[in-house]
Symmetry: C2
Subunit: 446 residues, 2 copies
Amino acid sequence: MSSGRSTALHTDRYELTMLDAALRDGTASRRCVFEVFGRRLPGGRRFGVVAGTGRLLSLIRDFRFGPEELRFLRDARIVDAATVAWLETYRFSGVVTGYREGELYFPGSPILTVEGTFADAVILETLILSVMNHDSAIATAAARMSIAADGRPLAEMGSRRAGEESAVAAARAAYIAGFSATSNLEAGRRWSIPTMGTAAHAWTLLHDDEESAFRSQVDAMGPETTLLVDTYDIAEGVRTAVRVAGPALGGVRIDSGDLPTVAAAVRAQLDALGATGTKITVTSDLDEYAIAALAASPVDAYGVGTSVVTGSGHPTAGMVYKLVARESASGDWIPVAKASTEKASRGGRKRAGRVIEEGTATTELLRIVDAGDVSDTVPRGTRALQVVLVDAGETDAAFEGPRGVEGARRHHAQVRAELPLGGYGLSRSDPAIPTVYQEGAPPSEA
Amino acid sequence: MSSGRSTALHTDRYELTMLDAALRDGTASRRCVFEVFGRRLPGGRRFGVVAGTGRLLSLIRDFRFGPEELRFLRDARIVDAATVAWLETYRFSGVVTGYREGELYFPGSPILTVEGTFADAVILETLILSVMNHDSAIATAAARMSIAADGRPLAEMGSRRAGEESAVAAARAAYIAGFSATSNLEAGRRWSIPTMGTAAHAWTLLHDDEESAFRSQVDAMGPETTLLVDTYDIAEGVRTAVRVAGPALGGVRIDSGDLPTVAAAVRAQLDALGATGTKITVTSDLDEYAIAALAASPVDAYGVGTSVVTGSGHPTAGMVYKLVARESASGDWIPVAKASTEKASRGGRKRAGRVIEEGTATTELLRIVDAGDVSDTVPRGTRALQVVLVDAGETDAAFEGPRGVEGARRHHAQVRAELPLGGYGLSRSDPAIPTVYQEGAPPSEA
């Protein structure tokens, strides 16, 4: 899934100026541990969903400085000649561990841990955060919509309300979090996500009247197609649709109006016309709250646009990339953390496990371990949350491509089922489970 | 500025299923006019800023279906063999007119008009809206921040809070709307936007103490660099910074705390230390309101992250792509519009002009003209708003690349100066000027 295009300049300038200075003063080779985590869950949400990981792996592989990138850095005097030479052979050679894609996360969860020299690791900050913050924001919103839809199919159709590449990533993240399909063809091609869609209002307006538009669509796609019935008058549109396609009509789509009222009226009308098997899809400005409000309505499927691709009010997950431990001049590991005011965080490498009691998650347990301790131990009695994603620079192909997407989707469904009941609520609240830090030696029992 | 990669599948599936059906029933060749406009300005804003146009032109040029795209469409049975054959030679051959990039817009403003056959024009919907909705949302938020900053330099540093490609587009849109620089190196390379940035908290944490971190940075970048002083204690950080760099220190950056209080204290401390020329940059969770609240504080420059790249609460401009006129079976032009409920719009091609009285904009005048009328007449007494961007499929290079960005930035500064005083307010309100539709023949005087 490598794009082949360099991703190396998707980087904030200060990362390269720090590299430049670190190569001069010798600290560039100090071994470091950086962690990606969110200080809080945006919007009073009860959980977050990790997404972007599989996509990130190939972007890290493409993080190479080619002639074009190096020429820019030299000509714009971003770094000096020695740094340009160093970047020329750069290839990330460290280790990345992290939560599996699709996993839930909570405040402080170390969703990615990047280990390497300072030079190795510092320059990946922006790329990693761009991908994880965007995709996790979408997946988190999408999971809430998937909970609200309660098993009814949900299609993502918001590409037009997001940047053209973010739209593809959004379709992918929504699918991982429980959506069933996307309107975005590039997401279909790139990630093998099922695609859907039949016609827009322009189709009806193009034709001399609604009937000829419907007839033409049914001729092309068969009576099992979905007809958009709200270009002029919905009741008239439904009548025309059934007259043209017959009672075997696959579906009607409604894109405007007060949906609970309209859906009930359309269902009654379809049933009266004998079209009892015709499904109703609604697509007008839905978000998780509107979907939940339609739970008792005769709606068969939802199409969601703007709200899912913009994270339903929270377009970024707000995660940060922080140095939590580093090697000292004498080679010892030292936990480090910013001390000032509201942005303080916990230094030290975290080993993460989720305490599961009788199938239900109760605690996010983060054990602060010696950064030199690379053993795989997790707190006893917990489900281990971290897996190796990149080892000595080599990415794990199992997490990439369409296979990675399917794996993440399955994993998400499994772990979401571990949420305590309160975790499924849509209103603002505390995280579904508390995050507990453990210092020092492994506890005898979690 | 062509990326060389096909953009053809950044498309919602329904566009291709409509194309498929239209090629069968003969309506594919009907000439059509589609318009891009916003029904309202999100968030009670007083104006919108058009952005994305220059970027879009090269993406339209790359909208070609190559072997990989065609194979996907065939294998996934999105369209039939005849449509695959048609797409194989597709290249947009119509005309696109639109508002200049950087121009202001108001409800209903036809910021882009796409003319061609139905087949030509319908399949560009998603790509056009993705680019214009994202970039215009960012530019609109950025313009408000630029107004609030009132001449102080503003840097965009939000890449980590946006998808990796949207981040580059956001840097570009913010620069057009008045930002002075970006942290994003790819935006520097691709669009020649000035880049900035020196060091993160990780730089200080990497070193044995703050003093050695500062010393090393000053050694590498000179005393004119900007030192980040809030890793531990700000007052101590400022003292150390001036001790290390001397009173000629270029700047200090503060990324946390109550900024009005902190900025005043740091200014007093710097002055007492003789560092009267040292500038103060603040970068902590700023948006247009926080910037406005710092107007009286001794702040020299702002760095804005999350809020600008996410449109400060409105991550999409919410513009739509609507068929407004089409050719009938007999070759006449017919204005068309969706009739139902809250999403109704005005049919017919619009000719747009802004009434300017003594240098101040007073009205957005949209004259509904016969779609066959391709003369360049605008309502008399107004500034013409539409220019030709693509003619017979050929894009106008003047609007593309770094030159296009500089032109858009200049144009934005000029036209923003035409706003009436009420247009500069940040609170929720009506649009700065009303949109007035004129039907029928040209008026004798606007």
